[in-house]
Symmetry: C2
């Protein structure tokens, strides 16, 4: 069985294309009492971008905070606020921000039409009903959240995405100008998410020529950005993220992402930085890529956080291992069907303890 | 204004994935009297592929002949046969074949829901109503027809596509095994369509980082296939065609395609071979690429047809120039807004006369 990939229906790309958002949304404002919900990272409060959001008086603007990774409770709370705001559902959800904001926008658009808590849907293909029309507008590039079929959330028990075809955005707006002003560390860590998941895709057992071609191009573009510092590097990074997301849509991530999910669950750190912390200890799995990654760290003078796990209570380490172990497709992609005998809990623990 | 690209909604990729077609179509067979129409290149009559087509007794199989490029009259005739076959519209059109078959399948799915003749819609965004659900299954790779928003037809007056968002397939099935048995010349000419339109895209004024990344990857994959003859070359060629199609979706083709349309209109030759005939005389526009193209010709021992225009009646040459001149976006992409003063009819004539 091959995966029948659901694509983002519409892709708008170009410097300054954000200004076409108003026209795009107009086509979705059918009824006279229709309204849009903008889900926007609160770092843009009082920024020039805020003034450019095509907000009508009937619309709802939700400033969201993603200092911590998005939680299922937060998604449930936001969904509740939208339901309280109006007695009918919105015509669309527009997410503006980084990967966490993309994930919240996707999750909210799903939870408006699916009963219960978002925690009930952490897993694969549990979502039953189509989402509200939803638009993703990245202001950071690398996660691939703009094209992926998941919305990663921290639940009470696990960090795991709402993986489903309904999760995929109906429209993405890729405007390289929007990522130009991201803080350089954050830009680096998010970009490395792309580099790392492409390495995992290329070295995985799920690889096929479709995901190979996408991952190869994404890695080349990452090199343009983080090693060669070519002009138009914002454009390159945005395209790297797009291709990287396409690559994992058809394959899967691997060891680094699996460990990084465990790390993020307990340490409450962001996905990009979690990946970088973990990747530096994975030379045995991805030797050439870890070397190249260290070159990029050096070039961008990034000091990775160290000793994050040292001195941690044993029960926390066990929790990290629990959270990582749930991610069976990731391990199977990385190490094959026999992964449980290769990556024992004891081995996982040893790797975590170096971080 | 940036183009808001409409994507193919679902992409299935993999060796042998053709066998999932039955499951995919089941999801579209809603009503009890619903039926599918298979539009299949007649070279597959009595072939092993014929037996694998998931045809139900209520379905219609139309064998189509594409020895000549598809004409608007032919599309109108096929549309009429489908309307006569049943008093309701089909649930889907499934095209199985090369670029011409893809174009016929797309055009028929549009003409079942839009009144008049397909010749009325040759141009840009003239189609008013959404098409019938349509599926593209390429058995030749290179044209990019599987992802493009056009269905190129020879009309009474011109060779020009039905360019519209509604033209885009709802589903494509990319099974590299299906292209393995194509005759080697045909495979070469069709593959060169991809190489050439990527060269035109990369050298055009419409280029942006999205179409650049796609075209660069497609050209690299073409080199893997036609210069290095890597293993998995069917997979590489199929992906090259996909990326090449994506590249021109966001940019445009150029001098070679414009001339080749004129050539094909008068000589009734296929698009791939027409492109190759023209490209060999375009060193002044695409010097490095024409050199590399000649290496590929040599490696594959392809003898290009020569002297196709020599001795042609003047009125036929004038007709070729007329047909080529209509393609304003192609010329503008290649030569800029001022193209008419650069590519005069006299200059076009001189180039044609060398072919």
């Amino acid at each position: 069985m091959f995966l029948n990939i659901k694509s983002v229906a519409r892709v708008l790309f170009g410097r300054g294309c954000f200004d076409q958002l108003d026209d795009i949304l107009k086509q979705q404002r059918h009824a006279s009492d229709s309204f849009m919900v903008f889900v926007v990272d609160d770092v843009f409060k009082s920024s020039p971008l805020e003034k450019r959001i095509p907000l009508l008086k009937e619309d709802l603007l939700l400033w969201i905070n993603v200092d911590e990774e998005p939680k299922t409770m937060y998604v449930d709370h936001l969904t509740g606020s939208i339901k309280q705001f109006h007695d009918r559902l919105p015509s669309g959800i527009v997410g503006i921000g980084g990967g966490s904001t993309m994930d919240i926008a996707k999750a909210v658009s799903l939870m408006l039409t699916n009963p219960g808590s978002s925690a009930d849907y952490q897993g694969w293909d549990l979502i039953q009903n189509p989402a509200i029309y939803h638009v993703g507008i990245p202001t950071l590039s690398g996660t691939g959240a703009e094209v992926s079929r998941t919305a990663v959330l921290l639940g009470p028990e696990k960090k795991l995405g709402l993986n489903s075809d309904h999760t995929v955005f109906d429209q993405i707006v890729l405007d390289p100008e929007l990522i130009a002003d991201a803080p350089s560390e954050q830009r680096f860590y998010t970009g490395m998410d792309c580099y790392i998941h492409c390495v995992e895709s290329l070295n995985g057992t799920y690889l096929n020529p479709f995901s190979r071609a996408c991952a190869e191009k994404a890695i080349e573009l990452c090199r343009n950005v983080f090693l060669d510092e070519r002009p138009e590097k914002d454009d390159h990074l945005m395209m790297a993220s797009y291709f990287g997301g396409m690559s994992i849509a058809y394959s899967q991530v691997g060891v680094c992402h699996a460990l990084s999910y465990g790390l993020a669950f307990v340490l409450k750190i962001h996905h990009g930085i979690g990946n970088c912390i973990a990747f530096d200890y994975l030379e045995e799995f991805y030797p050439d890529a870890v070397k190249e990654f260290r070159l990029m760290l050096e070039k961008h003078q990034i000091q990775l956080p160290r000793n994050q796990v040292k001195g941690m209570e044993n029960q926390d380490i066990e929790k990290m291992i629990d959270v990582s172990s749930v991610l069976e497709p990731l391990w199977e992609n990385a190490l094959g069907k026999n992964w449980k005998s290769i990556m024992t809990r004891a081995r996982m623990k040893k790797i975590f303890q170096r971080m």
